[in-house]
Amino acid sequence: MMDELRDRMLDTLLRELVGGDTPPDLSRRIMAQAFPSILRRMRLPLAAAAALILALAFWPGNREAPVDPGSILASRGSTIVTDAEPVQFTLGGYCYLDMAPHSELDIGGRELKEEVFLKRGRVTCRVDSGVGAFTVRTAAGEVRVKGTHFSVVVSDEPFEAGGVMMFRKKMFVKVFAGVVLVAGASGQFFIVSADDKVAETVGDEAGVAQAILADATPAAMKQFEGTLTGKVVAVSTGKAAFEPVAVLLKVEGVKQTVDENNDAFIIVPQKLIIGKTLALQLPVIVLNREELKGGADEMPKIMERVKAAVERQKQIKFDAKLAKQALANGKSVEVIIRGVEVEVALPPAAADDSGTPDADGPAGNNGKVADTTAKPATKKVIRLEIVRLTILESRKEEGHPSGDRQSEAP
């Protein structure tokens, strides 16, 4: 038994020493719980008073009566309904909520894991980073954050089914600062604020697909340029034994900027959780003007391409040597990704095809003999390239460019 325990001890230490499973710094979290602010220390008596006020306010018979406008005290288990005026309140000392008029929400959660259920209307939330988690749930999905500024709207959208008019819940999320994780019935995705642009998306039962559709509105036609920062936490091997060709990033920041362009270049960071590590997936699709003009009618086709892209593009690829170096040193990396227009030769069979470029680029010539006397037909497509991977030192601004490598092209 003692030998087994020694073996276990070494296994634990090697995970930390070689594998980077280092102890996290939880001091802020612990200090926040051990030394709550005055307001938090007063929470119990205040919560009791608030509960009494709310109990009176929502006593059967007048439960729907709106609370007074302005700041209020809120406690778990209570329901807040606003009338013509907005209402502000704080949860847990780190979540600041601003409820729009004609909204309704329930307060749930627990200490450092505050949570509200938005039944109707809009709530705008600002969450202090590094203190605790915060979740807004709706009938259409949920938004989880640890420090950001965003708003959630839940509304009823009419639709016809079998000649009957029905309603379904729809959730709109706007992110003003930071990154939020939205979880819908069919998947999870991040929404990222981008400079002064407000990222907006729709999430209900369609989840990821609807986020992509929302990005693909004509107003969002773009050439993608994005930056990811994070830690390399694992390397997968390639055909040559032990040669790392792809890495998994522990994402610490995502930034995305867009420019007007004819084609929409869409990249949707998704997460795949392995323990507490975020493994990044970057499904990429390219949409042309015709597809975008088609709007909702093109949705099924776009959906198919998104699904195919997710299947194909499991991970972004980095320079093997740099990836290994970053992994060995446990350093943060910054990856600059850009959509780059390139001219590619089309196979003769596809030369006359002026349709949508395939997300994988041109296919092979399927064994047909090309006409070498004619000028080869070409087509401009946008490829996704990693233009720079930088291993960061202690701070982002101290990073230095270290190399580049083209990623798996869309």
Binding site: R6, L10, D11, L14, E16, D21, S236, F242, G275
Partner: protein
């Protein structure tokens, strides 16, 4: 309780307690929660945080963490390899005698780092694959042309060799002093 004193204790001991909980079999998230609970217990014991020297306080914190983790395991009704109280006491003994040795384990980690660097090629490759690249046992077996049991034995042997190497290094360094 003085805020600064408490914060200093948290900063000094959080890594050690987290590492200890992972050794006992706690997942990352459970280790984080138990660690937080442990310091809250400390907060509510005004006499505990004045303990001197640090080794005694560390032992006290490990005891609290161990009990909290045991309670968690029982509540989850999931059998953990070390959930039995007697086993946990033995685990504590190994941790204290082999890893801590009247310190915070820094010298052990340092010696282990050097021992890993000094491993023969094949053994170092196995360690790198297992811990650095997080290959599964089956993945390693495929790449190394071995059976899964063979990989398991190889890793055990390498860890045992590393343990011996660390003990020798520490003994020689202590002898030199």
């Amino acid at each position: 309780v003085d805020r600064d004193v408490f914060e200093r204790i948290v900063l000094a001991h959080q890594a050690g307690i987290y590492r200890y909980l992972r050794y006992l079999g706690a997942s990352e998230s459970v280790a984080e929660d138990v660690l937080q609970d442990t310091f809250i217990v400390l907060m509510r014991n005004p006499t505990a945080h004045t303990m001197e020297p640090n080794v005694r306080l560390a032992a006290w914190l490990r005891g609290v963490a161990r009990n909290k983790f045991l309670t968690h395991c029982r509540r989850q009704k999931r059998r953990k390899p070390l959930e039995d109280g007697t086993l946990m006491n033995k685990a504590e003994l190994v941790w204290r005698r082999e890893f801590l040795r009247q310190s915070d384990g820094f010298d052990y980690m340092d010696a282990l780092r050097r021992c890993v660097d000094a491993l023969p090629e094949k053994q170092r490759l196995a360690i790198e694959m297992r811990y650095d690249r997080r290959e599964s046992r089956s993945g390693m077996a495929r790449l190394l042309g071995m059976t899964e049991n063979g990989v398991k034995s190889l890793l055990r042997r390498v860890r045992a060799a590393l343990g011996d190497c660390v003990r020798r290094r520490i003994a020689s360094e202590e002898g030199a002093e």
